[in-house]
Symmetry: C2
Subunit: 342 residues, 2 copies
């Protein structure tokens, strides 16, 4: 335990209450409550005495009790597949910044790709009575949907789009992104394509859309490589090696499910003396901070994650205020950023 100077017993300011402050300031507990929530309703002198008492005791209000009494916890539950994935963590960063500035705190959980685990996490979070929930993706178990609807609080689903959100959603179309990449590749003159994809549902949807479109454009469906493991530079290198083994034609464009993969392909190509994009071209996904600085720089699909996080936060804030908010579907889109790798 964090221990106070030996000898004195822990003040455990969890022990100091509004009533204590009131006693010190010569008022009742209610007045202290008012001083904190609506200072304008308390006389200046009283306010001063109360503030003084708070300072002297180091009083920290008990938000648990406050939330119980008011049924507003000022807590937002956020569930992401992974915090170590920069794509989600940067989105979260923008989101929490705004929520924080409005007095909300974030309870975060990682849920991986397992719907069962997501359901458990949702239950655990709902037990804390959050004022809203942020979920990643739009596919959730019926059980999860039910709990969320029952909770009767705003829910925002991010990083994907659906016509039937639980409440509202902010994202972009992964299918469109895949198709846009295929159209770009075709128009840029590539006549052979391949895909490298991580084991993730949305990544697969991008890949499928890419393969469908490029296949119908070129007449032959691109070869695909799936990586169960997380997308890393190392697996990107391995992917190019494997593609080459399989006899990939020179001048093929490889559509990757993440910039990590793409960078790996760049590194492996360089190690093999292959020229990019002449011998092999690469399209990434995510436009991570390194994408513009690789050699050659990465052509990739960019999602403005800052903006996405901000729109998600605003959607919730809006719902806190509105009486009967409409079911909001916010498409924040994406851009194909052409650089030098394709």
């Amino acid at each position: 335990m964090a221990r106070p100077p030996a000898g004195s017993r822990p003040p455990r300011n969890g022990g100091v209450t509004m009533a204590d402050i009131g006693r010190l300031a010569g008022v009742t507990q209610v007045t202290v409550s008012r001083a904190l929530s609506t200072p304008s309703k308390v006389s200046p002198q009283t306010l001063e005495r109360i503030r003084d008492a708070i300072r002297r005791t180091g009083y920290v209000p008990n938000a648990l009790a406050g939330a119980l009494a008011s049924s507003r916890s000022r807590l937002i539950a956020a569930l992401v597949p992974s915090v170590t994935n920069i794509v989600y963590s940067s989105l979260l960063h923008a989101f929490s910044d705004i929520m924080w500035s409005h007095g909300y705190q974030i309870m975060l959980s990682e849920v991986g790709a397992d719907p069962e685990r997501e359901e458990q996490a949702i239950a655990a979070h709902l037990s804390r009575r959050p004022d809203a929930v942020l979920l990643t993706g739009v596919h959730h178990s019926p059980g999860a949907r039910l709990m969320l609807v029952n909770a009767g609080i705003p829910v925002v689903e991010v990083w994907d789009l659906t016509e039937t959100p639980i409440d509202c959603c902010v994202g972009f179309s992964h299918e469109n992104a895949g198709r846009a990449a295929a159209d770009f590749a075709w128009q840029a003159g590539y006549r052979s394509a391949a895909t490298v994809t991580a084991a993730e549902e949305r990544a697969r949807r991008r890949r499928d859309a890419f393969a469908d479109r490029f296949g119908s454009l070129s007449g032959s469906r691109p070869a695909g490589l799936d990586f169960g493991r997380a997308a890393t530079l190392g697996s990107g290198r391995a992917a190019l090696a494997r593609l080459l083994e399989q006899g990939m034609a020179p001048g093929t464009v490889v559509f990757c499910s993440s910039d990590q993969f793409a960078q790996g392909i760049l590194v492996e190509a360089a190690a093999r003396g292959l020229a990019v994009p002449r011998d092999v071209a690469v399209i990434g996904f995510g436009d991570q901070d390194f994408a513009a600085s690789t050699e050659p720089s990465l052509t990739t699909i960019r999602i403005d994650r800052q903006h996405l996080g901000r729109v998600a936060a605003e959607a919730l804030l809006d719902r806190f205020a509105a009486e009967a908010p409409g079911p909001g579907v916010h498409d924040v889109g994406f851009t194909l950023t052409r650089r030098n790798s394709a």
Copy 2:
């Protein structure tokens, strides 16, 4: 709001209480409470009826009320400088995994490098009455220390070491890491060194220790470059360019405050046709997932972040159980992983 089928009014299962479940099961609220916390103390038939009622109503216990009544929130507050920095997020990942499996939830906040903001965040978190707090680093404002000590709960400071933790700490010595890099570089035969450092207090301590040691070994203090911005591949490239402009001697070893910088130097060197490590050698920090797969692979300082997170979790769990835990300082160490860049 997540809305139930039109027409029916929101069950808002925040509305279903233990008393409601009791009524349905023909028992009092207390028995329901027991059924949930110590099912062994409830008869099998009663238990069955209660569980049935819970299932039918979709009841979710109110953890706010529970925490208020028991003064145990099963909440852990975690404060990290940044969630988008993989170094902290992977540590957090391991930490929360364990805490979660013991029934604790994490409340996360980013606090950047601003002590003022950290203090605010600590106050906000303490108001939720967490059962413990995790902090990054060992330098905190006097105000922050005071609040934490007053709270009387376990506190673990991670990613650094001190003789005087608020409560306990789990980390490694940044000074030792810097010196180890200098010793390694000297013994590997490098006679000229430089540093590239992000604007971060711990990074600077590593750099200073490196420069001191290498300086006393070689007789001349290494040149240093500071980057205010976050460590990115792009700034690593820029760093090498700048170092070269400044007339860095061939065969210099560059000690970076992160693997991102180091990778940037690798990329820039390749782009300039410089051989690594012959023309310029590089030592990174962090051993991120890409470090083993770069070309050439990165020599870097590795911290077992999984392990660190685990030890931090165990330290807290221990303190929850122990009567009078000793002030624990856990040095998890680091290893200099030699690969091909130096």
